[in-house]
């Protein structure tokens, strides 16, 4: 035996340092690098960022605060003073569209965060306890909520809460979490058979600790993408609901602006409609690009581990 190595073990592996993987050493780091390399996604991110700054400015009172005031004459055409002209009441359309950005972000964020949390919670529980009564109850609840027509549901909640401004939010959260929960449930059912979950069980960890410390963090990529999708869905639904008179009542939103414009368009005044729908279009477009890029960047099956 000419091999000199027989007794160099275990130190033979040499006070092992981790195999050096180039650059970004966390999983997120690599996702960020991929995202940054995706031009469409970066454009989406830029659009969303601009809108976010606009919304932030409204919150901080920098601009848009004068949306309800009469600052000009009735139905003025676009000018340097009123970029998108004025409404029938002489309000600045641009200010209204800007303020509506805040409304949209408020609804989007509240609904996205709440329904993602609910979806993660119920999805994880029903996935881990699949085929048990816990799962059955959650699936039943999901089935019931999914089977009620959305607008009917909102109308019912709005009616039941008697004009409460949160009725729309509650209705959206109650319906939107189910999709997230379904996706998380599937992923958890896959993950719970992996060996690191068995290792956690072998250690003696409580099932809830296993679920929320070991399993759920591995569904973050789904949750993140799903949150952006819900965000867009919430904004679009708000527009439709407000248009139908079921949504925003004590503020202004793109949906209300479009509702107002229905009578104006006949009279030949398009600016309200154009302003609201182009803001909406740009934000939804931006968010969709962002969300697609996110999905690609976070996809664990992408080559180049």
């Amino acid at each position: 035996m000419s091999l000199p190595t027989a007794d160099m073990n275990p130190g033979a592996d040499g006070r092992l340092q981790p195999v050096r993987k180039p650059a970004n050493h966390s999983l997120w780091g690599r996702a960020v690098a991929r995202f940054a390399a995706d031009r469409a996604a970066m454009v989406g991110l830029a659009i969303v960022a601009v809108f976010f700054v606009v919304a932030l400015g409204v919150w901080l009172g920098w601009w848009g605060g004068n949306w309800a005031e009469t600052t000009g004459g009735q139905w003025q055409p676009p000018s340097s003073e009123h970029w998108f002209g004025t409404t029938i009441l002489g309000q600045d359309i641009f200010a209204r569209a800007v303020f509506s950005t805040r409304t949209a972000f408020e609804i989007g964020l509240v609904v996205a965060i709440a329904s993602t949390l609910l979806g993660a919670l119920f999805g994880a529980l029903s996935g881990y306890f699949a085929q048990t009564p816990v799962d059955a109850v959650i699936l039943w609840l999901k089935g019931v909520l999914d089977s009620i027509p959305f607008y009917l549901f909102v109308a019912a909640i709005a009616f039941a809460l008697d004009g409460n401004p949160w009725a729309m939010h509650i209705a959206m959260i109650a319906t939107f979490w189910t999709t997230t929960a379904r996706l998380v449930r599937g992923e958890v059912m896959k993950l719970k058979n992996l060996e690191f979950v068995e290792a956690a069980r072998a250690m003696g960890l409580h099932p809830l600790v296993i679920i929320f410390r070991h399993i759920v963090p591995n569904t973050f990529h789904i949750l993140l993408v799903q949150a952006t999708i819900v965000f867009v869905a919430a904004i679009k639904s708000e527009v439709i609901l407000s248009f139908l008179g079921l949504g925003v009542t004590d503020s202004v939103s793109w949906g209300l602006m479009i509702a107002e414009s229905t009578t104006e368009v006949i009279a030949g005044h398009y600016m309200n409609f154009i302003a609201a729908s182009s803001f909406l279009f740009a934000l939804v477009m931006g968010f969709n690009l962002f969300s697609d890029g996110l999905q690609d960047a976070l996809d664990p099956r992408r080559p180049g581990r």
Binding site: T5, A6, G14, R20, A23
Partner: protein
């Protein structure tokens, strides 16, 4: 010596990764004569599977591409063929079987439909004639009740049966060359023995040349005429199988043979090991790629790359090859 069936000359394959382009296969040359079996052996990441995919023209696109070199099959240069011409060759002249037959077979078609499709495409057989040939092939690879199995779907067969079906499909057009990439790695030992015997038997009958890609030196010892040892994308040693096991020349080959746990009369207290790990392809050393793990490495090994040179009946890329002493272990 008869004419070589497959001649691979200085083949290099590049892969685009996030860390930049890496050379997964570096300057590999070998040839194989009709009816012979060549084993390509090495650990994961050594480039053995990439080599076989490159021969088939099946490198994942756009990440992988043949950088330099030539692959000639019976005088035809494969690297310059377009996709259509390659498709005509695949299945007919050269075919391939994979490690996991469950993923290599299409789950929505019956076994018979899949073998039939190959036969109808390459041999222009009628539906009925293709079915007859398919049944005949299934019988030859040792599948019991072939007339019934032919109408079953892949998931209805066991792992061993699926691998046999893959072999039947791969050999149905009597290819001149069969590339088998870890064909028995997913199988149990008793099934592995059956499948290896089956490949050998059909090879004898059809005169097919076989390239067997594997990490298992035991499989090489039992089935191959010649062997090629790869490390970090390069060929480090090449020899007739008997010679390779009797007098391994490269220190890596020697270590590898010693490190395999063997069913042996006397239990060893400790296994001989090769220290360290395989270097990443993105950060290869300048000199011999095995130097950092080699007990014989000196200044020369660290600064210069050894070339493949003839030594006895072997070809070896090592500055300090093992001598003529009797094989250890």
């Amino acid at each position: 010596m008869s004419e070589a069936l497959l001649q691979v000359d200085r083949l290099s394959v590049d892969f685009a990764t996030e860390a930049g382009t890496v050379r997964a296969v570096d300057d590999v040359s070998f040839s194989i004569r009709p009816g012979r079996t060549l084993g390509i052996v090495g650990e994961s990441g050594c480039g053995k599977s990439v080599t076989s995919l490159a021969l088939m023209g099946l490198l994942p696109r756009p990440a992988g591409r043949i950088a330099t070199g030539s692959v000639r099959l019976g005088g035809v240069e494969l690297t310059s063929l377009d996709e259509r011409a390659l498709r005509r060759l695949r299945g007919a002249e050269l075919s391939m079987i994979f490690q996991e037959p469950m993923t290599a077979l299409n789950p929505v078609y019956t076994i018979g439909a899949q073998i039939g499709a190959v036969l109808r495409r390459h041999e222009r057989l009628s539906r009925r004639a293709a079915r007859t040939r398919a049944i005949e092939m299934l019988e030859r690879v040792g599948i019991p009740l072939p007339t019934r199995r032919i109408d079953e779907y892949p998931h209805e067969l066991s792992g061993g049966m699926r691998q046999r079906a893959m072999i039947a499909m791969a050999l149905s057009c009597r290819p001149k060359l069969l590339i088998a990439d870890e064909p028995t790695t997913a199988l149990d030992v008793t099934t592995q023995a059956q499948v290896l015997d089956q490949i050998a038997e059909l090879q004898q009958e059809l005169g097919t040349a076989v390239i067997l890609v594997t990490h298992d030196l035991g499989v090489v010892a039992e089935t191959c005429d010649d062997a090629l040892v790869m490390y970090c994308g390069q060929v480090v040693e090449q020899a007739p199988t008997r010679v390779l096991f009797e007098t391994p020349r490269h220190r890596y080959t020697e270590g590898l043979i010693a490190a395999i746990p063997k069913v042996r009369p006397q239990r060893l207290a400790r296994l001989p090991v090769i220290p360290g790990t395989v270097p990443e392809l993105a950060e290869l050393p300048r000199g011999c790629r095995f130097a950092a793990r080699c007990g014989f490495a000196d200044e020369t090994c660290i600064s210069r790359q050894p070339a493949l040179e003839t030594l006895g009946r072997s070809r070896v890329a090592c500055f300090h090859p093992a001598g003529e002493q009797a094989p250890s272990a």
